[in-house]
C-alpha cells in the first residue's frame, strides 16, 4: 500500500465520519424528536404530572416519602449538590447505593431500615418487611413499590389520613400497573400518584 492510497483512505475516513455525524447525529435525533413532539408530547418531555400549573414530579422518577400520611417508596440515596436551579437553589437528585449485598455495611443498613419501617407500622408486628421497602433500587429513583409493600402500609395510611382501609386500597389499586401479558415485568404501584391522590391533589 503506497502513500497515495493511504491519503485516499484517510480522505474516505474523514468523509464517512462527517456524513455519519450529519445523518446519525443530527438528522436522526431530530426526526425522532419531531415525531415524539407530535405524537407523544407528554412522554417526550419527562411524563411530568402537572396540576393547576404546579409540576409535582415525573411519573417515572421516585421521590423520598416519610410522612405518616404518605405511602413510602423505596429508600433513596439523595444528593443536593449535583444540580442547582435557576436561582442557585439546590435541586434534589438520586443515585444508587453501590453496596454489595454480601457485605456487613449492607447488613447494617438493612437492619436499620427494617427497624425504622417496623417502628412506623406497629399494626404489622413482626411480620416480615417486603424487600423493596428496605433496599435501594438500581437507579436510586425507582418510582414504584410492589403491591406487597403497599399493602404493608395500608393500616398506617388509613389511620393517618382518616380514610377506611378499603378507600386506601382503592387508591392504591388505581395506581397499580400489571405485568405485560400477565407475565412480563412485575405488578407495581406508582408511589407519587398514590400520594397525590391521598393529598387530594390528583
Amino acid at each position: 500500500m503506497n502513500g497515495k492510497t493511504l491519503m485516499r483512505t484517510a480522505g474516505s475516513a474523514v468523509a464517512l465520519f462527517v456524513a455519519a455525524t450529519v445523518l446519525c447525529g443530527v438528522v436522526y435525533p431530530l426526526v425522532v424528536t419531531g415525531v415524539a413532539a407530535a405524537a407523544f408530547p407528554v412522554q417526550a418531555t419527562g411524563s411530568i404530572i402537572e396540576v393547576d400549573g404546579v409540576k409535582y414530579g415525573s411519573a417515572l422518577v421516585g421521590q423520598s416519602f416519610r410522612d405518616e400520611g404518605h405511602l413510602w417508596g423505596r429508600p433513596t440515596v439523595a444528593d443536593a449538590t449535583t444540580f442547582t436551579g435557576d436561582d442557585g437553589q439546590p435541586l434534589l437528585w438520586y443515585g444508587p447505593e453501590n453496596l454489595s449485598p454480601a457485605s456487613d455495611a449492607f447488613a447494617e443498613r438493612v437492619a436499620e431500615r427494617v427497624a425504622a419501617v417496623r417502628a412506623a407500622h406497629p399494626d404489622q408486628g413482626n411480620a416480615p418487611v417486603p424487600s423493596d421497602l428496605v433496599t435501594v433500587s438500581g437507579s436510586g429513583f425507582d418510582p414504584h413499590i410492589s403491591p406487597a409493600a403497599a399493602e404493608y402500609q395500608v393500616g398506617r395510611l388509613a389511620a393517618a389520613t382518616g380514610r377506611s382501609e378499603e378507600e386506601v386500597r382503592g387508591i392504591i389499586r388505581q395506581c397499580t400497573e400489571k405485568p405485560l401479558l400477565g407475565a412480563i415485568g412485575q405488578s407495581r404501584v406508582n408511589v407519587l400518584k398514590v400520594n397525590l391522590m391521598l393529598d387530594g391533589i390528583l
Binding site: F83, L99, S137, G185
Partner: protein, 621 residues
Amino acid sequence: MSATVGAALVQAAALVALVLACALPLSGYLVNVMEGHPTPARRLLGPVERVALRLVGVGAGSDAGASATPSAVPSAPAAPASGEAAGDPMGWKRFLASVLLFTAVGFAGLLAILMGQGVLPANPEGFPGLPFDTAFNLAASFVTNTDWQPVAGESSLSYFSQAVGLAVQNFLSPAAGIAVAFALMRGIAAPGTGTVGNFFADVVRAVLYVLLPLSLALALVGVWQGTPQTFQGYETVQLLEPVAVDADGNVVAADDAAAVQTVTEAVVPLGPQASQVSVKQLGTNGGGFNGANSASALENPTPLTNLLQCAAIPLLPFALVLAFGRMVGDRRQGRALMAAVLVLLAAGTATVVAAEFAATPQLAAGGAVYLGDLGQSAGNMAGKEVRIGVGESATWAALTTAIANGSSNASLEAMTPVGTLAPLVFIGLGEVVGGGAGTGLAGLVGFTVLTVFIASLMVGRSPEYLGKKIGPAEMRMATIAVVAPALVILAGATVLALAPAGAAATGEGGPFGFSELLYAATSAGGNNGSALAGLDANVPLVNYVLGAEMLLGRLVPIAAVLALAGSLAERAAQPAGAGTLSTASPLFVGLLLVIIVLVGALTLLPALALGPVAEAVAGAL
C-alpha cells in the same frame, strides 16, 4: 431448583427463542445488504446508499444498481464501469488501515466535541468541557464499542455531546465491527482472490440498512412508553415532602437540627434520550444516556421497553453468527457456532438467575425481610427496579455481558457474589458468547480455528477449515485474536492493583475492592463497558489505563482477524475429502466449548480467585 427460578428461566428461554426467530430472517437480510444483492430495502434506500458511497470515494460502484436489473444489462460492457463485485475491494492490509484511520478520525472528532462542549450548542445545563483524561477515556470507550463511562451523562454531558458525539459512535463502532466480520467471512469464502471487501462500503451499508431503521423503530416505541426525547433543558419539580441539607451538603430531614437550607425542588433530567437508548441496545454499545443506564425509568420505563431492549442486545450478534453459515455456503456451520453460544449463555444465565433468587443472608436479616414472591418479586431486590423484578434483571445481566453490550437494568454492584461472578467470566472469556457486533463472530471464529487445529492434530490430519488449509500463519493470527483480550485485561488489572491511585479508587477494600478493579479492567479490555459502580473511575490513572485497554482490546484482535481473513482469502479452496474433519457436528461443538472454557479458565481463574471467589468464600464462613 425453586419454582420462581424455573419460571424465570423459562421466560429467559422464551426471550432467546424470540430473538433467534428474528435473527434468522435478519441474517439473510444482512448478507443481502452487505453483499450488494437486490432487496426491497435497497429499492427504497438505494439512492441514498449510492450518494453515500460516492461521498466516501467508493467507485460509482457497488453492484447494487447493476444487479437490480440483471437481465436487462448486457454483462460485458457493464463490467468496467461498475467495477468489482463489492465496489473497489480491498486486500486485508488496506482494510485494516481503513479501520485504524476511521477509528482515529472518530476518536479525534469525539475528543474535540467532549472537550469543547462548553462552547458548542445544545448545552442547556451549561456543562463545561471535559478534562483531557476523562475525554480520552470516553472517546476511546465509544469508538471501541465499549461504552464504559467514567462520568454520569445527565450530570456532565451536553445534549450535543450525547447526540452528535456519543450516539454517532454508537452507530459507527458496531458498523465497523460488522465490516470486520464480513471481511473475515469473505476471506473464508473467497476463491483465492485475496480481497476481503470494502470497509467504507460495509460501514455505509450497515448503518443505512441495519442500524438506522432498527434504531428508529425502537426509539419511537421508547418515547411512546415514556422515554424523554427533547432538546429542552431539564425540568424542575416541586417536592411533596421537602428535605434539607446540612453544612456539608448532605441531605437530611427538613426538621433536622443540622439543617442549614431547605430543598423544595427536584430535577428531572431530559434530553434526546430515546434516540440514543435504542442504538445503545441494538449496536452492542451499552452506554446509557443517564448514569443509571436502563435501570432508570426514564431510559427504560415499562416491562415492554425492558423486553425490547433486552431482546435488542443479542439480536445483531446472533444474526451475524447465522449469517456466517450463509456466507460460507453451509448453514450448518453457522448453526454449530450458534449452538456453542447458546450452551454457554444458558449456563451463565441459569447461574445468575439462581444466585439472585437465592439472595444473601445479609438481606434476609434473619427472616425480618420478606424474600418470597407473594405480591412482589422474590429474591435479591437490592439494586433492582420493582417494575422489572429479579428474574428479568438477572437475565439482562447475563445477556449484556455475554454479548459485549454492557448496558444494565439493575446495579451490578448490588448483585450477589455469584451473580457478579458469572458476568465477569462472560466478559473475561473474550467476545465469544455472542460478543460485540461483528467482533463477537470474529472471536468465535478465532476459537474455532484454534479448535480445528487441535482436533486435527489429535487425529493426525492436516488442519483445514471450510475448505481452507490452516497453516502456521493462520494459527498465529487466530491465537493472537483469542489471547490478546485476556492479556490486555490482566496487564490492566495488574497496573490498577499495584498503583496506589488504583487501590485508592475502590469503594470497598479487600477482595471486593479487588473485584471492582478486576471487573473494570475486564470490562475495558473485553470491550464490554459494564461496571461495578463502587469504583471511583474518574481519576486520571484509571481513565488512562482503561482507555488504553479498550483501544488495545479492540484493535489488536481486529488486526489479527483481518490478517487471518487475508491469508485465508489468498488460499484456493480445496474440496472436502473423506478425511475432512466435520466442523458442524455436535462432537466438534463440544470440543469448541472445551477449548473456550479452558482458555478462559487458564487465563482468568487466578485473578478470579482473589476477587469474587474469595468474597463468596469469606461470606460463607
